[in-house]
């Protein structure tokens, strides 16, 4: 399949940027590679082809999620160049790792075989471990990398064990075979299968940072370079949810009663822990780490819906969340490089320093908190209504309460940037391509908030 091949070639080409001294053009190369991959990817729309001896299938679901991941990665690369001045001599390698991790993301959203799921998860995770430790001289970054690696390895063990148990129960890695088996044996509990399902669940819950497997998130998000955190929070989370939903909807929906309780409890705990802890965070990166935990809690709701509604809901939410947190993190990084602090007070008086930036902050925060006329509102709306359709009224009530708690801390940067006076009078200058990109993200947020029909049904 062309997308994976294009991405791999781009990754390898980038790798040699520093050896054959064309490092200056590697960002351009990555963008071209990603664009090509996006074009290839969108050509698969409505084709539903199967690849690699039925190891992967590119259905609309895979195309949609893959495109989201690649677009976000492309945005990130555009900004990467500016931000990592001190690490510049590793630029080609870093870009290569980023592009290859997107490869992992693509595999994660289009697998039809549990081995491919594992492969995808590992490609993504190992790239992430490396990316978390990018700042070699920075203690926080090192800590983030080693923590992420240790805990990630620990959780991968569970994922693998789960896959093994499922193989034991069904004698296959192939999702269609497994789903047939589950369908035929859904009347009575098969404990071997159920343990497998639960262990896979644990492995994936770790990847999406749901409680009580969320402990790595704040430390890693805070320690890693901000631009990389943006990557974790968007592409990493979206790809993980893509894999999560695909597996549980395709294979395990007949026995939904056996695992829905776990998801419900985990979702509730996750939402509350994420939102409530975020309230007291002064460090914005940490706050957004908790906010991303909370968002994982909301997205878990979609797993519970037993029809196609959930897929659309989770896709829309991913897009809304991805766009807004991408711009939020980018702005945090801009502020951080300018003021040297990644706390909320760094935003003070932003409106006087750069009006556009302040407005983009406001829009992305509004979207993250789910205020109408932004994409975030419809993301939540779809998620909650899909859960309501499946009868989880109480769960939705709790989720709504949570989304209101969230508003409090999302407004902190907005209040700082509009209602406080700045410490310095320096004007923040951005390159025009960066401004255009940020404005583009904001317009997309608003546009999706007014015309949510723009996202096609999958």
């Amino acid at each position: 399949m062309n997308v994976v091949i294009a991405l791999t070639i781009t990754g390898i080409l980038n790798l040699f940027g520093s050896i054959f001294s064309y490092r200056k053009i590697t960002p351009l190369l990555s963008i071209i590679g990603l664009t090509t991959a996006i074009v290839f990817n969108s050509m698969y729309w409505n084709t539903n082809q199967s690849f690699f001896n039925h190891m992967m299938v590119v259905d609309n679901y895979a195309v949609a999620f893959g495109t989201v991941c690649m677009v976000l990665a492309a945005c990130l690369i555009i900004f990467y160049n500016r931000f990592m001045g001190d690490n510049d001599h590793h630029l080609p390698e870093v870009l290569s790792v980023i592009v290859l991790s997107v490869d992992g993301a693509i595999v994660m959203v289009s697998y039809t075989n549990l081995l491919m799921l594992f492969l995808g998860v590992e490609i993504l995770s190992i790239s992430f471990y490396i990316l978390a430790g990018l700042k070699k001289k920075d203690l926080g970054s090192n800590e983030a990398a080693i923590k992420y690696f240790l805990m990630g390895a620990f959780s991968t063990g569970f994922l693998l064990l789960g896959i093994t148990l499922i193989y034991g129960a069904t004698a296959s890695f192939d999702l269609s075979v497994i789903s047939e088996y589950v369908k035929l044996n859904s009347t009575s509990t098969n404990y071997l299968l159920l343990s497998g399902v639960l262990l896979i669940l644990v492995g994936l819950l770790f990847k999406v940072a749901a409680a009580p497997f969320h402990f790595w998130t704040p430390d890693v998000y805070q320690g890693a370079p901000t631009i990389i955190t943006a990557f974790f929070a968007t592409v990493g989370k979206i790809a993980s949810f893509g894999a999560f939903y695909r597996l549980f909807q395709m294979c395990f929906s007949p026995i939904v009663n056996e695992w829905s309780g776990v998801i419900m409890v985990v979702a509730i705990i996750t939402m509350f822990i994420g939102n409530i802890t975020a309230l007291q965070q002064k460090n914005l990166k940490r706050m957004f780490a908790y906010s991303s935990i909370a968002h994982a809690g909301y997205m878990l709701l979609a797993l519970l819906s037993h029809d196609y509604l959930g897929g659309n809901a989770i896709l829309f939410y991913s897009i809304a969340y991805g766009i807004s947190s991408m711009s939020a993190f980018i702005i945090i990084h801009i502020i951080q490089t300018q003021t040297g602090t990644d706390e909320a007070m760094g935003f003070a008086g932003l409106v006087h320093k750069n009006k556009t930036l302040a407005m983009i902050t406001a829009i992305s925060m509004l979207s993250l908190s789910g205020i109408p006329l932004t994409a975030g509102f419809f993301g939540k709306f779809y998620l909650f209504s899909s859960a309501i359709e499946s009868g989880y009224v109480l769960l939705v009530c709790l989720a709504v309460i949570n989304s209101f708690i969230g508003i409090y801390y999302y407004f902190k940067p907005v209040i700082e940037s509009y209602f406080k006076d700045s410490i310095t009078d320096d004007v923040i200058k951005l390159k025009s391509v960066e401004t255009i990109l940020l404005i583009f993200l904001s317009i997309a947020t608003i546009l999706l908030g007014i015309f949510p029909g723009l996202v096609p049904a999958i």
Binding site: T8, I12, L15, F16, I19
Partner: protein, 116 residues
């Protein structure tokens, strides 16, 4: 029926091992001294603490070794089906080895193969 045979098998296994240990304990001559009671390790006895910092170069070698180890692991099943699949299999394995070769090339160019 299957369960009973399993239990019998387990009992036999444990019994056999236990019996062998017991017999050797009973009939083997034993002389205990300090030298004999030392934990057996290959090579010379350690001097100082064993928690020391390694040269990072060791890890690089280990990683590169691992890559080619895995390569070999893939070559075996390939060799089995090579005849049936014909030219496709050949091209695929060439691509595979080429990618790994690029990795080696990168490591080499970066100086990872140089001992320091």
């Amino acid at each position: 029926m299957g369960n009973v045979s399993l239990i019998v098998l387990m009992a036999c296994g444990i019994g056999f091992c236990g019996l062998a240990q017991l017999v050797s304990k009973l009939i083997a001559p034993s002389s205990k001294n300090l030298q004999k009671l030392q934990a057996y390790e290959c090579g010379v006895p350690t001097i100082g603490a064993s928690w020391i910092q390694f040269n990072v170069g060791y890890y690089l070698f280990a990683l590169i070794f691992l890559v080619f180890d895995v390569e070999l692991m893939f070559l075996f099943p390939w060799a089995v089906v090579n005849k049936e699949m014909g030219i496709t299999a050949f091209i695929e394995i060439v691509v595979f080895i080429f990618i790994l070769f690029l990795g080696l090339l990168y490591a080499w160019k970066k100086g990872a193969l140089k001992w320091m």
